[in-house]
Structures are given as C-alpha cells and as structure tokens.
C-alpha cells in the first residue's frame, strides 16, 4: 500500500509555511484569473516564492489553471503557462482542453492534472485524459466510495479525491449577486459580493445555508455542509488513492492548519503503526475537528455514502 499525498490549499505565502509545519505534502495555489475557487490569490511572484519554500521543504506545488476560458483570456493563459514553466512548478491543474492545446503548442513540460470538477465521473475519462498527457485525475465530489474505488482499480493515472471541506455546487458566468443588488437599486451593495464577505443563501425549506460569492469567473455557490471523512479513511487507504485534498476555500487559516495536522496524524498512524492504530484514534480525530467546526457549517461525508438517482 502506498501512503497517500496530503494536499492543501493555502491562502497566502505565510500560510504555506504554517501548512508545511502542519504536515501537508502538496500545495495547490494559483490566481483567480486562471484557477477556480482558490483559497487565496497568488501573483506570479508569490507562486515563485511559495514554490521555493515548498521545494526547500521537499514538497510539491501545483498551480490551478482550471477556469472555463473564454477567447479573451487565452493570450494571458499562454503567458502564464510560460511563467509557470520558468518557475518550475510540479503540476498544472486543468479542466478546459484549451490548456492541453496551449501546453502542446508552447512545449510546456510540467505534468498535467485533470480537474474538470463535476464532470470527472468514470474511469474511462480518467484514462482518456491520461492518454492526452494527464498524470492525475481529480474526481467529481459527487461520487460514492464504491465508484471511487472502482475508478482507481481501472485508472491509468493517479487519483485525487477531496476528503475535507466545502464543495462547489454551482458556477454561473452571470453576476448573480450584482444583478440582485442592481435589480433592487442597491448599487452601493455591489462591493459586498466578494468571497471575504461571508454571504450565504438561506434555503428555508431545507434549512440549509449555502455560501455564495462572485469573482472573475462568475458566481459560485457551495455545499451547506463541510465534508469530513477523517474517520472513514480506511477504504480509501486500501484502495490506494494517491492524493487526499483538504479544500480550505472560505475557511480560516487556523482551521485549515488544525485540520491538516489531524489528517496528517490519521495517515501516519495507519501507515506507520498499522490499521489498528488508526482505528484507535479516528474517533478522537473527528472529535477534535468537531470542536473547531464553525456552528454554521455542519459536517457530513459528502457523497461518499450517498447514492444519487436520476
């Protein structure tokens, strides 16, 4: 069995240092213009700074270029990819085939990770993109454990799954918050739609609260619960999943640091002391997360144990 990588999403260069300390193996960073729903915005210079820090610690850094690109951003994308090549990051995370085309044209040698969010749903797709240069697939969050395991068994690329945090339910190109304010003639509220404003939609019927914000990529709406499977990792370990992601979008740095160190303990217990050691501590690890969990964000296990119909 192979020890899975613990992947995190730092908010800033300073946060990278704290997360190295907390035991993360890999870091996903990027810039809003190119990457979707990042925990923080890194300029090219900051990517370079973070990369130096991360490589010095013997860890990996991946850069998100998984936006849905429109024509007007393609040129900037080319320049950005060349900058990433120069900096020497460890992977480019993409969803749009335009990135595959650009990487071929520009002879970029950085490995690709395929992450089209909701539409990575079966093992054939994983292998399809592997044949086109993708070293890893990031699976849709809407898959069950059985589906994840079966994909891994048939995959010719590494498999990354989210184990903790919010998941995105919706992306629109429209400015839905801005439109709502303008409709109600409240132009002064327009500034009030960024991710740091902690806005949410209340669904009275389901008693759910869905975080929402707008950025250069449109309007994003998130799950009402934070996914957490720290006490359900056994089968994912056995399945040899290659990377566990803790998505820190819309969480505080302190929260992400603690969660990272707890998953670190879970992984190390299982692989260094054995399955029983993990079984012994997993409930306590979960309890420690529950202790710091914001009251507005109930925990659940995402779709790991939830089947969908259609």
């Amino acid at each position: 069995m192979k020890k899975p990588e613990l992947l995190v999403t730092p908010q800033s260069v300073e946060h990278v240092a704290a997360l190295i300390e907390a035991g993360a193996d890999a870091f996903l960073i990027g810039e809003q213009q190119f990457g979707l729903r990042l925990a923080g915005d890194f300029t090219v210079a900051q990517v370079e700074e973070a990369k130096n820090m991360i490589h010095a610690a013997g860890k990996k850094v991946y850069v998100a270029v998984n936006a849905l690109f429109h024509n007007d951003r393609l040129e900037a994308l080319d320049t950005y990819l060349q900058e990433m090549q120069r900096i020497g990051v460890d992977a480019l995370v993409f969803g749009d085939p335009a990135v595959v085309m650009a990487v071929r044209e520009l002879e970029i040698t950085i490995p690709l990770h395929w992450n089209p969010e909701t539409i990575a749903t079966n093992w054939f797709q994983v292998n399809y993109w592997a044949e086109r240069g993708s070293k890893r697939a990031v699976l849709a969050r809407e898959l069950s454990l059985d589906e994840i395991v079966e994909i891994k068994e048939n995959a010719k690329a590494e498999i990354e799954v989210q184990v903790h945090g919010m998941t995105c339910m919706f992306q629109s190109k429209r400015s839905l918050l801005g439109n709502y304010f303008l409709y109600r003639d409240q132009a002064m509220e327009i500034e009030n739609r960024k991710e740091d404003r902690n806005m949410f939609l209340h669904d009275k019927e389901r008693k759910n609260k869905y975080p929402i914000y707008e950025d250069a990529n449109g309007t994003h709406i998130f799950s009402p619960n934070d996914m957490c499977v720290i006490d359900e990792l056994g089968e994912l370990f056995e399945a040899n999943i290659d990377s566990f992601k803790i998505d820190g979008v819309l969480q505080t740095a302190d929260y992400v640091n603690t969660v990272t160190s707890l998953y670190r303990q879970a992984i190390d217990a299982y692989f260094e002391q054995g399955e029983d050691a993990y079984e012994d501590i997993k409930d306590d690890l979960l309890a420690q997360i529950e202790d710091i969990q914001p009251s507005l964000r109930p925990l659940d296990t995402g779709f790991i144990f939830k089947e969908t119909v259609y």
Partner: protein
C-alpha cells in the same frame, strides 16, 4: 446593437440577385414521435431526440429504437435528419450496454449523436463509426482553442456553451473549420451546463445524468454573516434572491448568426408541446428563409414576433449573444404565467367542397370564439367559430373533450397538421 457584417462566403448571385446559399440548419427538439413529425412538417431541417438511455431528460418522452426508425424514415421524406442525445456524464455503472445501444442507434439510420462524455465519444467511434459525433453543450465549450481541440479529436460538430457571445463565435469560426451549433430559443441553465450539482445536493438527483430538478429556479434569501451575526441583505417585501433566467430568444439576431456562418440553430425544449414546437419552428423557418432569399431588403415582421409570443410562458431575452446578461435578463419575484394563446385543435382533414374542417380537440372552445389558424404552408389567419358538430353529425354547444373529433366550417383552405389556437382571456 452589434454590427452586422456581410459575409460573402455564404452568398451567390442567382437571377442577378445576391442571395445566401449557405443556410443554417434549423434544429428542433422532439420529445416524441408526434413532436418529431410536427417539427419536421413545420420546417425543421433536423430534430434531436432522446433514447431510452444515456440522455439528459429522464422525464421527457423518449424514443425506442423502433420509434427512431420510424422517425428517421419520416424525416427523410422531408430531407431532414435525426440526432440522438446521449449527453450524460456516465458513472461506472452506466457503462454497460453502451456499445449495443450505439450500434442500434446507428442501425436505425440516425445521423449523429450529441455527446459530452469521452467514454461515449470513443465508444461511438469504435462501434458505430457511421454516426456523426456532436459535442454537447454540457462540455461548456467557451473558447476557440478548445473548439480546435475537439476538431483535432475528429468531432464533426460542436455545440457551444450558452455563455458564448457573437464576437466569440466569430473568432471560433475564423480559427477552426468545424460545424458550430448554437442555441437560439428556449429555456436555459443559469449555470454553466454540467457545472451545477444543486439537484445532487438538494434532492439526491444527479443533474448530469438527467435528474435535474431545477433547484436554481427556487427562491432563496440572501444573508451576510457579520462576525457571527446573520444580517439579512434584503428588506421586508423585497423580491427574494433568485437565479431564474429569462428564456433565450434570438429571433432578431438570426441574420447576424447566418452572417457569422453558424451551421446549426438550435431550439431547446424536448418537454414542450406540439403547439410550442410548431409555433417556434415555423417562425424561425420564415425568418431564415426570408433573410437568405433577400438579405438586403430583409426586415423582421412584427407579426412574426407576435406569433412567437403566442406560445411563450416566460419572458425571453437575448442573453449572452449580444452582451453579458444583467438583472434585466433574469426573473425576480415573478414566475411562469399562462401563454397568451392556447392550443385549441389539430387539423386532421379539410374538405374543400364543403369547406368543413375535421379537427382533434386540444382545448376548450365554442361558437363565437376568436381563433387563429397557422401552418407551414399558409399565412396565419383569424376567424370566429360558427356552429360545431361531432363526428356523428350531432350539434355541439361547446368542444369540451380533449381529442374529441370536431367538425365546423372554415372558409379558407386548410391541410392536415395545421393548428388552431385560441386567445387565453384569463
């Protein structure tokens, strides 16, 4: 307003006049065999249908293979073709039966499939190579380089994301030699298609396998969490936060789309009625034909726009094609209303000697009602209903029963499959 460019590549001189010879395909939805026949009869060049599996409208009436065969045969008589939607994102469990299914579609004489998942693309290429492969809008195709990617993968056509505007389409056409299909009319997702799993979270129904329950059209309240306190960002009596888009309507942009060289103009709505399909398709047909026949002197007729509004139940807008939509292209605090006109009857037969029409009733009507007849082969006209009889020659005071056979006098000629609608006064 966007400026209309004159595209010489699509023109030829005929009888001393510059006309457009490269007409785009008018592509209609068809949720059943009856709808397919109506769509083709009313002027669609192609229809898209769903089969029993692998499609995204699990609630739409979907076609068996036998029905596909019949639909293809019918369409062929009109020179029209049939595409089948197989645009789910499959999970592992959906892989079984795919090969046999694609072979059966190919065997039915279908021209192509509309597909999003590389699993289905690659399987189709291997087991049913005669089928054209069209990339579904579920892939949210938004830039020319991605279009080029799918061209190099051997796809025949791409359906663009609904978020793509006119200038972007123009660039795609310039950069890549591939057929482009774009939506012109009907309901639209407010999210990037494929990038919304609200249904999965709210009702455990998988939106990307046909289970979408349109949670985006529900009302929500918007709050801000300020230092742990929940502050409402709306006032008492304000319309709630809503994500309901107005329907798409690009009838007035059709000349522009033709000049851009868009290959297929797609009308959405496999769940819609035959009256809706007949109305929408016949109006778009008229606009496309009129513009191509004489682009210099083309003007959109007010009566066409009025006719199109007859079947609308939601407000419509030209979202994205001309400009990024604003709040004006969304609906707040209002919901779908009744259409202004109801479908009242389908013409089965017309006797020119007696001027008697034989009609299948589709909605309540009675003597004295103002009704309107329309069809692909006639000018729309209105009249007042006179005396009514049933199929046994019994006098009727009203046409009350759905599918009842009704006869009455109409002094202008009609043909089978013409339709009658009645103003909805409520």
């Amino acid at each position: 307003m966007l400026q209309l460019i004159t595209n010489e590549k699509i023109r030829e001189t005929k009888d001393g006049k510059r006309v457009i010879v490269k007409k785009p395909e008018l592509l209609a939805p068809a949720g059943s065999l009856e709808k397919l026949k109506i769509a083709v009869h009313y002027g669609a060049d192609a229809v898209f249908i769903g089969g029993q599996e692998f499609g995204l409208r699990s609630n739409a009436g979907n076609f068996t293979i036998e029905e596909m065969v019949e639909g293809v045969e019918f369409a062929k008589k009109y020179g029209a073709v049939v595409y089948v939607t197989t645009n789910i994102f499959a999970h592992n469990e959906n892989m079984d039966g795919l090969e046999e299914y694609l072979q059966a579609i190919e065997g039915a004489g279908v021209t192509g499939i509309i597909v999003a998942d590389p699993l289905i693309i690659e399987t189709c290429r291997r087991v049913a190579p005669k089928l054209e492969i069209h990339l579904s809008t579920q892939q949210s195709l938004s830039n020319w380089k991605a279009v080029k990617y799918w061209k190099e993968e051997g796809l025949h056509r791409v359906v663009l994301a609904r978020e793509v505007g006119a200038e972007e389409m123009q660039k795609m056409k310039e950069e890549v030699d591939i057929e482009i299909e774009a939506f012109v009319h009907g309901a639209m997702c407010i999210a990037y298609s494929g990038r919304c799993v609200l249904s999965n979270h709210m009702t455990a129904r998988d939106s990307n396998r046909g289970g979408c329950c349109q949670s985006c059209r529900w009302d929500y309240d918007l709050y801000e969490n300020k230092d742990g306190e929940e502050v409402a960002l709306f006032n008492e009596g304000d319309a709630p936060f809503a994500m309901s888009p107005k329907d798409l309507k690009l009838i007035e942009s059709i000349p522009h789309m033709i000049e851009l060289g868009i290959d297929s103009l797609k009308v959405e709505g496999r769940m819609k009625s035959i009256h809706y399909i007949a109305t929408v398709i016949s109006v778009y047909r008229k606009v496309i034909d009129a513009y191509c026949a004489d682009p210099e002197n083309f003007e959109i007729k007010k009566e066409w726009l009025e006719e199109l509004s007859r079947c609308a139940i939601r407000p419509a807008a030209s979202s994205f094609f001309e400009a990024e939509p604003t709040y004006k292209q969304q609906m707040f605090g209002t919901h779908a209303s009744k259409p202004k006109w109801d479908f009242a009857g389908l013409v089965l037969d017309y006797d020119a000697d007696t001027q008697m029409v034989t009609m299948e009733q589709r909605n309540y009507f009675k003597p004295g009602d103002t009704v309107e007849f329309f069809g692909p082969d006639m000018d729309t006209f209105q009249m007042t209903v006179g005396e009514l009889w049933d199929d046994k020659g019994e006098r009727l005071d009203v046409a009350r029963h759905p599918l009842q056979i009704i006869k009455f006098k109409v002094d202008r000629p009609l043909t089978k499959s013409n339709m009658m609608r009645k103003e909805n006064k409520k």
